[in-house]
Symmetry: C2
Subunit: 449 residues, 2 copies
């Protein structure tokens, strides 16, 4: 696809240079939106604008929704107010909310002024929901039916109003006050006789979500119930919109990325990596790194209190990196397993005893294996049976402690309302640096006297 | 929901004890499948079987698909061959493939013998595709149309054959040889007049995927094109099945979990954490831990070669944990950022120069900040300006090197076909242990003489 695009890019540029805009539109006709968007951003500014204008109105808006925020921003700068007004009117409400949310505030203010009064009211309403809430994700473009209609009436209604709905295979049955009564599948309607009433197709067994819920809950519900859209209701149960699975997949990917970044000891980026500036990256990363410096100075304190001892038995210094790293690595493994199992709903917070017990057992197994290897190589290296015993015994104790603490920490953090994804791995790694040295030197003192 | 279930559990058990199986079925009638599945696994074995039998045939099969593999296994053990045969016939083909894949081989063999000849042929075909391929995920339950039909004929066909299809909002147009010609939306059909030909609704602009492709490619395509299902074709372009977005979301979650586990230096679990035994966990985790022991012994070698030096300036030993940890932490951050950006398609492999340059700049910023803090505290601690200078200079050099190498490593690993998610973080962390010590002691030698 990438190679194709490069050829296509040259061709489109030539067509534009020859003022053959109709041919450009014709060329794009069978392309999917992400492909057009990818090609567009490769073009230089003047060609980009002309290619964008060559697209039919609705296709231009649908393609626009696939651009990255910074690409949208750059294209918007070049568009006239008239172009922008048309674009805003043609964007679907959820794409419009996302755009207004992501663009710089000054651009958003300018855009709000170009909205039609109805679209402005709609956008204000959607932007009124808390950040990261379901309300920000939803679209009001869906098909409502009434329970008292017949299938025939419903189909006539769908044919009349269904063109712009985001979801076509699920229909929403509401009463006169907009209260959500049930959802019904298009399949059920098509399979039923024209004179059957919608009421008789309902089983009042539907899943909905509040507009104020965190968007992660929408991910969980869509994943759990395998539905392609969830109806969104306000506190009274009135249907205010729907969230669709395509938006939810994007949210799930973003949340996984955030958890991965947190696991590596940094604050989540909030934008794509490619869009983050070096200064933004610095800010997100420096926090934990500085905390870790201070924790490592505690390690320095521990070593300093055994200073004379290290002077006497300098071989002890050789294995310091090993005892520090092994505790950190093991603890990070068990903390990571636990954090992810909790995040995906595999392990419930109430099950902590079971998981921690399992990790204690795993810790014993890992500790024995690592003690044998490390003790063995310690013997070869240090040339001293006592050093080998110290390294081996430290290893088994450190790995055991790291594994148990690593497993326990995410549950404790969740309990005290600290995000376990953000804190578990860096905390257990630094804790084990200090604890590892204390265990190592304590064992050394006992054995070497 | 959880509290509700506990009450419901007691109620269901009582109904079963009083032989009121009809009441049980009635009670379940308005429940979603995941809720029934959750309740069922809470019951003891005899109640579980009776509650399962109380469900109508198709509902029992649909609910069964929501059980975890080990729960399916345990329920299957208790079912008679007749029960199992009915269940297998009622399961949808993709759920059946998944079950046969996940269950122990002995159970799978028994189940294959209970399949009807057609289902057996179908399962053999699906299981014939490589593991983790699109072929294993797909279902053959979709609606085919012919281009020469009218909308009226198409709707009649849909009403006749559409009941069991997994997807209803997208229809697949094939020729006489089964070759996929185009896809058409239910919306387009409903909106068109009955006498229009399907041919005239097509734009021949569809996205498909090969059955032999890796399932991650299906995740990317579904996410990129925002479709609810992808048609799956063989090497000739013949339509062999569809993959649906609900299965794809599960795959995306599994893949994210695998990447998170790899990032913490372990082999991916392949099962849920809750289903993994301590011995399995041990096996997945010990590999990298042992490799890290050997890397840490190189660190021991480095220290050993500066042994006399450390004896002379024992304060140097105090800051060893700091220089080791900071390089590892920084390198892990930049490697993690890069691995995830590559995995989500945010950064392309060809863009490595851009990303590595950005990370070099971030490394300079982080290095300066950390050098100031660490040097300052080093001065307070060591009480010696020279030590402070050594710690500060080491910090800036180590952080800079770690950041650049951490960013570069994922690109290099991808280039030589090693999974960057699996190797980047543990490799950079261990590499920086050794390099960090070398940099630290080299600077110390220059300054202390």
């Amino acid at each position: 696809m990438v190679e194709e695009n490069t050829d296509a890019e040259i061709e489109i540029q030539e067509l534009i240079d020859n003022h053959q805009l109709k041919a450009v539109a014709e060329r794009f006709k069978n392309w999917a939106y992400p492909e057009i968007a990818d090609l567009l951003v490769q073009l230089d500014k003047p060609h980009q604008i002309l290619a964008y204008r060559a697209l039919p109105r609705q296709r231009a808006a649908d393609m626009f929704a696939y651009l990255e925020p910074e690409e949208q921003d750059s294209l918007l700068e070049a568009l006239t107010d008239a172009d922008t007004r048309t674009l805003l009117a043609d964007l679907s409400p959820d794409d419009r909310t996302e755009m207004l949310e992501e663009l710089p505030a000054t651009v958003t203010r300018r855009l709000m002024q170009l909205l039609s009064p109805e679209d402005l009211a709609e956008s204000r309403q959607l932007l009124g929901y808390p950040e990261e809430s379901v309300g920000r994700l939803m679209t009001p473009d869906y098909i409502r039916l009434r329970a008292e209609w017949s299938v025939e009436q419903a189909i006539a209604h769908i044919r009349k109003y269904g063109r712009d709905s985001e979801i076509f295979n699920i229909l929403y049955v509401t009463d006169g006050n907009g209260l959500l009564i049930d959802v019904v599948r298009m399949r059920t309607i098509i399979m039923s006789s024209p004179q059957v009433l919608i009421r008789d197709l309902l089983n009042y067994n539907f899943i909905s979500i509040s507009a104020f819920e965190d968007r992660e809950v929408a991910v969980e519900k869509i994943q759990r119930y395998d539905v392609s859209a969830l109806p969104v209701v306000d506190s009274e149960g009135v249907l205010v919109g729907i969230v669709t699975v395509d938006d939810i997949m994007d949210v799930a990917e973003e949340e996984a990325t955030e958890d991965i970044q947190k696991g590596a000891g940094m604050a989540p980026l909030e934008t794509k990596y490619s869009a983050a500036s070096p200064v933004q990256l610095f800010r997100k990363r420096i926090g934990w790194l500085l905390i870790l410096i201070f924790v490592n100075l505690i390690s320095a304190g521990v070593i300093s209190s055994y200073e004379d001892y290290v002077m006497e038995f300098i071989t002890l210094a050789l294995f310091m990196p090993l005892v520090i790293a092994s505790g950190g690595n093991c603890g990070a493994q068990s903390a990571t397993l636990m954090v992810r199992a909790i995040a995906t709903g595999d392990v419930e917070l109430g099950d902590w005893m079971q998981s921690v017990s399992k990790e204690i057992l795993v810790g014993v197994l890992l500790g024995i294996a690592m003690a044998i290897i490390a003790g063995g190589v310690g013997h070869l290296y240090g040339g001293d049976a006592k050093i080998a015993v110290i390294v081996g015994l430290s290893m088994i104790s450190i790995v055991f402690v790291a594994n148990a603490f690593g497993a326990l920490l995410p549950f404790v953090l969740s309990r005290i309302k600290v995000d376990p994804a953000a804190a578990s791995t860096p905390l257990i790694t630094s804790l084990m640096d200090v604890l590892g040295l204390i265990i190592y030197f304590s064992i050394a003192v006992v054995i070497l006297g």
